[in-house]
Symmetry: C2
Subunit: 337 residues, 2 copies
DNA sequence: TTGCTTTCCGCCCACGATTGCAATACCATT
DNA sequence: AATGGTATTGCAATCGTGGGCGGAAAGCAA
């Protein structure tokens, strides 16, 4: 049904290889002939068959994207930004994105991931989600390009792109100190086993030591993925003898709970307590008062990851020259501080 | 580098075609031989090369997903749910998802869409986004399977899957009437040129006529995509002589504005005014009071769309037997009503 | 005329898998 | 021993593109 290169050659009155040369530019083709060929291509709506092309060039022009399908509905809007960034970079470079969401039932996830490589349906992989770990050996051993995105890197082993969570928390503290706060509390996004959580904790700790001169364990509460995480913690923090005048929440949802509880307890936000969230989602925009939030450069992360992967595929970056890209977060100021 | 079918044949001590038969089940292969073959496959981590396979079978086992990359950040979490639904259905059926976001600069969008078809890099297409219109002719003429998802259908021409926005608004009214309300206002999600907006408007109108006996133009305000859409409208609606006791907002974001403004004006929610949102996003969960919202079955829409498309690809549904799937919305009850 | 370059063609192989065909090997039943 | 059925094989063609090679044709300059 669809036109083949032969049809184009016939239409343009040239040989098949001349068409191929004209398109791929690996030999001299006279301008006039080129023009005839491209007119024929246009007329027949010809595009080289991907399968055939892939078979001989050993390139699919696909980038595989494997995402661990976790349940936390909130990260969704963030995730989509990453995907859009990826889509932009790949689209601009004539790549397509081969997407698969997989539940974090580790075996299926790993299988699917390896299948993309084994079936050779993509030239490289981008991996998102913490549960993916086991199957890296085969990829590395066979020098198949892949990039970890927005998840804990494995230093010296895998290329990765991530947001600088540590710096983000650090900036949050610095910003609050600039506003005159010295008793600044932290509610972590979740338990410290999760890397992003630990990073934010560390950034907070570092900044407190640097700007306030002292890190007080009492001012740290551990958040969770529970619906109302932040609610009880707020009360606990505000009832300390020397209560904090500012609270950094590890996620926007938590921050909205913090604001809510603080107000219930009679504290005005931001006058009595300032609040900062994390991730700069709709939640922080819509809360009243709107909540200052640390913005993660999700779209840019996707963009950089795709660019990096494409360089790896093209061999512009050597396999053993492990790249670790960490992108800075920015403070997005709103009413809550 | 990667193993080929020849390697497997050699390893198992059989002929190439026996391996192929064993895998694709198109001839008799003895159990014992089958076992040897699958052991060899396992040992070599063999998977048939997609390009080679696609070339001869004329199937890629990919489904193309073309999404119009609009800017409205809020629809994101919803969009991702659709994608997850798609991913689930395709993954379960051994398909992959070929994703491309494109800005609604119509020409690029259309080009990319047609390229997927012309390059034959997918067996079918799923299209999301209102700006995609022009290039259907080529697809239809060549009987290439595609499904419109979550956007205005073209009756009798294209297969489509959508949420029943009309029924959703209808249910909202019905629910409020059940709670004793009779003066029920509507703020549309945006202008009525947008189909979903019009559908919700019609559903509201229908239900008002049916359950209240009278449709009052005064009770309808036109919303927009502005940040604070809903704010001014609320004031207008509440200052009517015979003010509404309930407001249906066309989107959750708008609903949150409605609640906010109503409270500022001294009306208690839900006691003085009940509020219902649309889309059941995080916003409605996090608002205080939490907002009752009409939930669109996004994930299921993705699932159904993928299933439909796969049936079309397999020829289980004829080309001219146009399917229009409309999935019902449900009321998700919260504090605001 | 000769020599040289540019442009083009035809031919052929390769890529990896599927599949039809004809042939053979094996086994069990009669 | 003959028959029939099942299991397996080799061979070859096919899919659409890419690309190497040698050669032919055409144009141009000396």
């Amino acid at each position: 049904m669809a036109a083949t290169i032969r049809d184009v050659a016939r239409e343009a009155g040239v040989a098949v290889c001349t068409v191929s040369f004209a398109m791929n530019g690996s030999a001299h083709v006279a301008e006039a002939t080129k023009k005839r060929i491209f007119e024929a291509i246009e007329k027949l709506n010809y595009r080289p068959n991907q399968s055939a092309r892939g078979l001989v060039t050993k390139k699919t022009n696909n980038i595989g994207l494997v995402v661990e399908d976790t349940v936390d509905g909130l990260e969704n809007s963030i995730l989509l930004d990453v995907i859009k960034g990826l889509g932009q970079a790949t689209g601009d470079n004539n790549y397509d994105l081969l997407l698969s969401f997989q539940k974090p039932s580790t075996s299926k996830l790993a299988d699917h991931l390896l299948d993309v490589y084994r079936k050779q349906s993509a030239d490289g992989l981008i991996l998102m989600g913490a549960a993916i770990n086991q199957p890296f050996d085969e990829l590395i051993k066979n020098r198949f390009p892949f990039v970890l995105l927005g998840r804990p890197a494995i230093p010296g082993l895998c290329h990765s792109v991530n947001a600088d969570n540590e710096q983000g928390a650090y900036e949050a503290v610095k910003y609050l100190v600039g506003k005159g706060h010295r008793r600044i509390a932290l509610i972590t996004p979740c338990t410290l086993e999760v890397d992003a959580s630990l990073d934010r904790y560390n950034g907070y700790r570092l900044a407190m030591e640097e700007f306030v001169g002292r890190f007080d364990e009492q001012l740290v509460a551990i958040g969770s993925f529970e619906q109302d995480s932040g609610y009880a913690e707020t009360e606990k923090l505000l009832s300390l003898k020397d209560r904090p005048t500012a609270i950094i929440a590890g996620r926007d949802v938590i921050a909205s709970r913090v604001v809510e509880r603080a107000q219930e307890l009679g504290y005005a936000v931001p006058d009595d307590v300032a609040v900062i969230g994390f991730d700069n989602t709709v939640v922080s925009q819509l809360a009243r008062p709107s909540i200052t939030s640390i913005e993660l450069p999700m779209r840019q992360m996707g963009l950089e990851a795709a660019k990096l992967l494409m360089k790896l595929i093209d061999g512009e970056i050597g396999f053993d020259d492990i790249q670790t890209i960490v992108l800075p977060c920015t403070v997005c100021e709103r009413e809550s501080t």
